[in-house]
Amino acid sequence: MIEGSRSAYKYLWPALALEASFVFAPLVLSIYYSLHKVRYFELGAVVWLGNYLDVLSHPVFLNSLLVTLAFSLTALFFTFVTGFGLALFLNRDGPGNVLLRTVVLIPYVIAMLVGSMLLKWLFSADAGLIAMANAYFRLSIPTILADPTYAMAALVANAIWRDSAFAMIMLMAGLKSISPSLIAAARIDGANQWMIFRRIILPLLKPAMLITMVRLLLHFANVLTFPLILTGGGPNNATDTVALRIFRVGFEDYDLGRANAMAILLCIFNVCAVMLLLAAFRKRKAT
């Protein structure tokens, strides 16, 4: 580590300038909008925290907070675990693994719109694969998309299907930063596979794990396409996330003031969640 703000900022200023112009400036404007009554994209009177109070007292928004919490945490857990499994399974470099890594990546690189539309078709009891399965195998799988719990499960499945690839690549990059000589040396010393994993790989992987978890959590909290296309937010608002609410209130109800208030609240909620995650990781490092 070197001390020296001047030198550090030499490296940082282009990035900071870009962020300031294209993210923080619009963010300030967005907050400004949220303090006004905005209708049909026209700025009205100042209402200070009126939009925030209105939003926080609305049962539909509170529902969407719970839905977002449930979705992001569940999706985070399963996506992370799946991604981790894939990273370990496909870590060794070889033609077979390269092929399979690419295969896993395809759901990630295809447009989210099309991915969700294809999955919706898959899950449809009337039109899709489930219908085919029911017909051929005489099953009677229930209607997934019309049941509040199953619809949430379908949404989580969409998340895992697409974003496990992200976790896999991130964690694999982490695995590849671990020097093989370290592993080899441990093996010579008589350590078995499990011990190597627990004592060497896992601790060295912590930074990568942290980035992966944070990125996944933020992605799932903010994602719009999955709920919009797969379930439309239904049935009965069972999959109505805050991101979907923001889109609906801002671009379909044309109330940008309330939409931005929701967005700022979501942003604060996200930042807090990430800080918690960071703190949890730091504590573990100390022990």
Partner: protein, 438 residues
């Protein structure tokens, strides 16, 4: 060596140049070309009937107006209205924008359109006014005396049915007048095999996304004389009519079992796709999709028919909810006069001729309908549609965000079917949601 440089004195050259330039500005306007930008979802270089119609309209107009060129920038259709308004706020709006009926509230309330009254409709003759097939369309776009837009194409939400299935089931479509008749009729067209429903009697779109008027909303409006809103867009949902309508819709799923429980997830697109595939016997849709269905249906497109909406009243069919695409001119346009000329052409009788053939749209002027080339039986379907509209057209107040209220009604139906709430309470919540939006 040019003549100009031969002129000896510099003192003479300068005033001459100035005079020359002044002279240029005095020349008639037609000498300088104007380029109008128009945002639409159609693409004049594509080959669907409406794209071709637009192309021909532009060609005909440009031929007649040599100094004016129309540049079309096609946009994704569901972003057109917002982009037009946002672009206006950023002072970079196109001269002409297309706005669909569902988003008319945005256009009117944001007040970004030029008043087409003085520019176009004030120049109409009384004969032209009488000639309109849908005079209510123009009125609908007027608020406080300002004509915000003019109709290019009109459409309504209709109920598609399959003549072949009705024939097979021995049901006469003319006898399906009430919702009970409807439920009984489509039940006969349901096909169940090995415990699996292969074909549902009724398509139903109850999604909270990309949806529009549902059966229940139609039934409610029918019982209330076509009204969904009172004064100041106060919603009229939580009443006896509403309860009856929502229960009818819920019963299609839970009691008569002619509509799939998965209807909660179905958007308008989903239901039409199923109808094309033969998975449902009836489906509601914008009438504009008629051609699309005929082209793709494996069951023989000529069996496609439009059924007047059932209602709770045997003597009167349900309303045809009107909508369409409308042309607006931006208040900031620098070529308002030329833009007005184009819009007048595109929405006037000459444009309508092309919208009808090759466009396949209902012409909005009776004189066009009466032209000899349109007497052919091919256009009977358009005449029938116009008749249906004349009989039961309903235009919901443009400034009330009706499409969101339809979503609220869908949510209410979902709650009732899932058994979460009694219908009246669900409707009260729908009303509250609509009021919060105003």
């Amino acid at each position: 060596m040019s003549i100009y440089s031969r002129i000896p004195s510099r003192l003479v050259r300068a005033p001459l140049a100035a005079l020359f330039m002044a002279g240029c500005t005095l020349l008639p306007h037609g000498a300088s070309a104007q380029e109008l930008t128009m945002w639409t979802f159609l693409n004049p270089t594509a080959d669907s009937p409406r794209d071709v119609a637009l192309k021909q309209i532009i060609e005909k107009f440009e031929a007649r107006n040599p100094g004016v060129k129309i540049k079309v920038e096609n946009q994704v259709w569901f972003t057109l209205a917002e982009k037009f308004v946002m672009a206006h706020r950023a002072r970079s709006a196109p001269d002409i924008g297309w706005v669909n009926g569902e988003n008319m509230g945005l256009l009117i309330n944001s007040n970004v359109a030029e008043d087409l009254g003085p520019l176009i409709t004030s120049k109409w003759t009384p004969a032209m006014r009488r000639d309109q097939v849908l005079p209510q369309a123009n009125e609908w776009l007027k608020k406080d005396g300002k004509q915000h837009a003019l109709p290019i194409m009109a459409l309504s939400i209709v109920l598609f049915y399959r003549r072949d299935l009705f024939r097979e089931a021995g049901v006469d479509p003319a006898r399906v007048k009430t919702w009970d008749d409807y439920a009984a009729a489509v039940a006969k067209m349901q096909v169940v095999r090995n415990g699996q429903v292969e074909r549902w009697g009724s398509g139903l779109h109850l999604s909270t996304d990309k949806t529009t008027m549902s059966f229940g909303a139609n039934a409610l409006m029918a019982a209330q004389n076509g009204k969904l809103f009172g004064a100041d867009c106060a919603p009229l949902l939580a009443n006896a009519n509403g309860v009856k309508a929502i229960e009818m819709q819920a019963d299609l799923i839970r009691k008569y079992k002619v509509a799939s429980p998965e209807s909660f997830a179905y958007t308008l697109d989903d239901v039409i796709d199923q109808f094309i595939a033969g998975k449902v016997a009836t489906a509601s849709s914008g009438n504009g999709r008629f051609g699309n269905v005929v082209q793709k249906a494996a069951w023989g497109g000529k069996e496609l028919g439009i059924l007047p909406w059932p209602s709770f009243d045997r003597t009167k069919p349900g309303p045809q909810l009107m909508s369409g695409w409308f042309a607006a001119i931006s208040k900031d346009s620098k070529h308002k006069e030329a833009a007005a000329r184009f819009v007048a052409f595109m929405t006037g009788p000459e444009g309508m001729e092309l919208w009808t053939e090759p466009g396949g749209q209902v012409p909005l002027f009776q004189s066009v309908f009466d032209k000899p080339q349109f007497k052919d039986a091919r256009y009977d379907y358009l005449r029938d549609l116009a008749k249906l509209w004349a009989q039961s057209e309903v235009w919901l107040p443009a400034e009330c965000n009706a499409s969101r209220t339809f979503v609220d009604l869908n949510t209410a139906t979902q709650r009732v079917v899932l058994g979460k709430e009694p219908p009246l309470k669900a409707l009260q919540e729908a009303e509250a949601a609509t009021k919060a939006r105003q």
